[in-house]
Symmetry: C2
Subunit: 340 residues, 2 copies
DNA sequence: TTGAAAGCGCTAACAT
DNA sequence: ATGTTAGCGCTTTCAA
């Protein structure tokens, strides 16, 4: 094993160690240009022996090519974005592109900072959650001169391309299913997050559709922080104590829905006879519950894949071609949303 | 709003637009050096008007300072690493450092690639999960000349610093608690992951401790892939059909433990009278379960914080000073591990 | 197939 | 307080 070097190795070190010019060493290490087998071996040997790691900073500056894709998401704390991420990595795996993740915590100012930071590394593209951004963020995205894909949502004006589902439509569809199943006294349980625009849009689509049938939300309950499963329990208890005659509970995500389900089952409530339930997201977790919760999948992995593909295909261009891809979530009625 | 530029803006553009030298523009934008209030305003105004985003690539090359911390973890798919990450971001938030995440999928070759890729960006430090790495990875870490913190585990030889818990000890403690509670026919349920060294160490610590009391694992069951909650159910059913007289089930993670718990409760099994249960991790999810599962927290967030702090404090040095920080997980007996 | 020169966009170090 | 000069470590371009 070689000693700890006092400074990082450079191409020049490899050049000297192998007796080959820097330029040719560079060619070998990048696998570009014609290099004789003999020199290739000399160089590779020297590089490996020294433990040379190329300096991408210098490479990127010289070539003005950065094989990074900025991915900006609100959170890693629920299963939804990690799944989007794995769709992205999966699709990018075949290319020379690498995802770099930034998290905004649903805060526009943080998003602005993270975006600025990302763009200052001159990535080859940006994938960013949502269509709602601050003025400054939109300006940065528009000016960046690289392909931009806004994901998760299609209800709005993308800067460039977008891939997602319509959350308004998702809310509408769920409302239709609930009405059709005969439920009438409907409660809504969600997060206290004015900045979660997708949850808001689902809620809007939901209530508007109910309104068309002359139904108003009978009660609502919101939470923030804490274990979603536990919160689901608490909220369910609270809303039912306040409004005992509810016959349906629509949860803004599966996790709180699962908490509610567990709570009601313990209480011996007849589900879906007495009370029907539905969540949102189609998380894998649900498969292990005593009953399968009605839900609607958000096409998370596919969104990641499509977004990544768009970026990969737009390589070199200055935009993603303003594509707009709307995916169709499928409604799963499970065991908790059945005609009664 | 300005038009889409044909090429990214440079310092020079700001310099020309503001009538101030590039150097002074650079000073203003970095907030370094003495600049008069008047010029500062001129420059900031010009930069904002143009929508200038500095080029960190060039800056990093010139200053040989990269405010990035590479974070290499096996997965984002369970709650454990996201929590470590948020500990890291939290701690780094006050500094100029930014985490950049790479995921290995528990594969040593992938780890090697991700690490190489990270190091080629010359980060200011690396936080990497686990103490087991390929020869090549260890060599890269050792040669990198930057602070390295290996996290999660302390049972082994760190390259530089490490922060984590002893998984062997965790396994031992759980075994002791189980024995002390009077359980004797013990089954183990885990992941089919030879490369998850921490799970392996817990298992070793567990079985050895049982052995000292003359107890052998009565049966075991392993899974891979799929919904952990659902797998927990299936495995529990399988192991109990095969070995009905088990009086304790030790799960390698809380998620499968939760699945097992739900399954057994449905079956009407007396817990913890007839069968005791325990998991591992202390995930927040557990708070919403009908009974709280015995578990042991892995100090995830704190590990992230401490690791990040070590990197932050070692800024500029060539190593993290070979610190070795062992955190102490606390055992939570919950409702499923009680003397009987 | 290989090499030499120029320069990517910024900042350190040194003027002024 | 501000400007000038010389690189950072690579890759592009052009020559041999």
């Amino acid at each position: 094993m070689t000693n700890r070097p006092k400074r990082p190795l450079t191409l020049r070190d490899v050049s000297e160690a192998s007796g080959v010019s820097e330029m040719t060493v560079s060619r070998v290490l990048r696998g570009k240009g014609d290099v004789s087998e003999a020199t290739r071996l000399k160089v590779q040997d020297a590089a490996k022996r020294l433990g040379y790691v190329p300096n991408k900073i210098a490479g990127a500056l010289a070539s003005s090519r950065v094989n990074l894709v900025g991915v900006i998401i609100p959170s890693l704390g629920n299963m939804v974005f990690p799944e989007v991420l794995s769709g992205i990595s999966e699709m990018l795996a075949g290319t020379s592109l690498q995802p770099v993740v930034g998290v905004t915590d649903y805060l526009p100012e943080t998003e602005e900072k993270v975006l600025f930071e990302m763009l200052s590394w001159r990535p080859s593209g940006v994938i960013i959650a949502g269509l709602e951004h601050s003025e400054a963020s939109r300006a940065m995205l528009a000016q960046a001169g690289i392909p931009i894909v806004e994901i998760m949502d299609v209800d709005g004006d993308p800067v460039d391309a977008c891939v997602g589902i319509s959350h308004r439509r998702a809310g509408r569809q769920m409302a239709e299913a609930i009405i059709e199943a005969g439920y009438r006294r409907i409660g809504f349980l969600g997060t206290k997050m004015p900045l979660d625009h997708r949850a808001r849009k689902r809620f809007e689509g939901f209530t508007r559709t109910l309104a068309k049938s002359g139904i108003e939300i009978a009660d609502q309950e919101f939470y923030s922080g804490g274990s979603a499963l536990a919160k689901g329990r608490e909220m369910t208890q609270a809303i039912l104590e306040r409004t005992p005659d509810l016959d349906f509970l629509y949860y803004s995500n599966d996790m709180i829905g699962a908490g509610g389900l567990l709570y009601l089952l313990e209480k011996g409530v007849d589900i879906p006879g007495q009370i029907g339930l539905a969540g949102f997201n189609g998380v894998e977790l649900l498969e292990g519950l005593p009953r399968s919760l009605a839900t609607m999948d958000a096409c998370r992995r596919e969104i990641g894949q499509r977004a990544a593909r768009i970026i990969a295909e737009a390589q070199g261009s200055r935009s993603a071609g303003a594509q707009r891809i709307e995916l169709t979530p499928t409604l799963a009625l499970g065991d908790t949303l059945i005609r009664h």
